[in-house]
Amino acid sequence: MMRKLARQHPSLAIGLLAAGIFALLGLVSLWWTPYPIDQIAISRRFLGPGWAHWLGTDHLGRDMLSLVMSGMLTSFVVASLGVLIGVGIGVPLGLAAVAWGGAVEWLVLRFSDLTFAFPAVIVAILIATLAGPGATNATIAIGIFNIPVFARVARGGALAIATQDYVAAARLAGLGRATIAARHLLPNIMSLLIVQGTIQLSLGILAEAGLSYIGLGTQPPATSLGLMLRDAQSLFLIHPSLSLIPGLTIVLVVIALNIAGDGLRDAMDPRLRHQGLSHGAG
């Protein structure tokens, strides 16, 4: 099956494979890392890459590879939960807008306008002021940012489906609006949602990095790719590898996800190219 996929959709296969490997490396860090990530050994700090430490050690003598693995897990978890929040709230809103129309649609559109007025950084600032910084707060901020994105994609996709004959037939058969939305609209916009989900996942990883870097996201002793860059901030002019390694990891993970997303879009439905998937950064 994998071979068929690779032949028909090479970019999808490459992207999925790479993203899968990164996610797996992160997952493995739950049970095993080359060295414990909280093992501080000042005598072994700033080591270059070598047999003992493949990616070298940081300013506290911690193993960089272990930190990258564990940080990748945080980045994936925060970004995925952010997507789940966005899908869980945004998709029902978008579907309701189409199924009920009228005042419901107006409310959903105004709500999505309002949410667009709060970029993730501003939400994170507000949450951090009230409850202090943390990975949970970064997740919520990214999730809130994702809500209007999914509401719009769901509404856009469902609008096209709602004019189909089988939806009219379902209505004539006496099915309720919620049933129609769940049974006919939702399954037909799945491919749109999956593609947008991949895009938001990669944006979420970038957002998590940004928020942790300015100190509003993940806090020590936990680690994330953004937090590693924060730690490197005062040292990277002397020890560039401290910032090169986590930065390059972010770039590779995001490229893998974006290639997978582009491939998915083409594989699922070539017409999706024209459905206005948003690629905005936040």
Partner: protein, 321 residues
Amino acid sequence: MGVSPMTLFLLRRIAGFAVTLFVAALIIFLLLDLLPGDPARFILGINATPEAVAALRAQMGLDAPAHERFLNWIGGMLRGDFGISSTQRLAVSELIAERMAVTLPLTMIAMVVSVVVGLPIGILAAMRRGKATDTALMVLAQTGVAVPNFWFGMLLTLVFAVTLRWLPTGGFIPWDEDAGAALRGLVLPGLALALPQASILARVMRTALVDVAEQDFIRTARAKGMTKSEAIWRHGVRNALLPVLTILGLQFAYLIAGTIIVENVFYLPGLGRLIFTAISERDLVLVRGATIVLVVATTATMLLVDLCYGLVDPRLRRQGA
């Protein structure tokens, strides 16, 4: 009916803008004024004496009921009065204006660079569609989208400030002291912010042009004897600008937010640093003022894009969409 569709369109958009802002202000007020319980106690911490809390309450005007305080806050802002920072004892409007002298030019530089670099790359890729140039440029854009702007800032510092010593590593000299030095201090952060934005713009521009190239009027232009590139250049680019405009508006809004992060790399005294200090010192009045300024900037940009849309494409006005 004496009202033209254009006026109606404008009025509707501006009303929507005002409502969004009002609700956004309400949310910020609820979060920063009502949710923390007593803001005076929140600022002073749990060890404060009741007398100190009462004094601060009176000074901050917290004795009034919530709805009155909200209206006072809105009314004050309309007059340019954002309150007094509880830690710095200065007018919030002055503190923000001072920092905006760094943040706003930085955002502008990033915007200009991303347009000047991104759009031509997108146009070139669309004209050479399917050829090696197209592939190379899109691989470049794919990478650019994936690079965190603040990390790119670190790389730029390493190359241009540390190794080549062309530009400062960070810090900022005020405009009135040495405008040239101030500008030099914003070059690297501006480039760092512009890279991902330029990559997104290039991709959007290419997609939009490729879509337009399949339209009938391009075929007609080709039938009249124009080459593919000529037809795209003379008739396509203008039509493809509409989706680009939307993304541009969204980007400007997020650039302002992104600036906060990049300022950190270059130790720039912009809005970002102000906000982080305010958060760590629990200066709620200052956080409130800074966030509402950011929200207004975001919303106003979106409004501007909507209005430009109406000007560029008369069809949208008539539908009142």
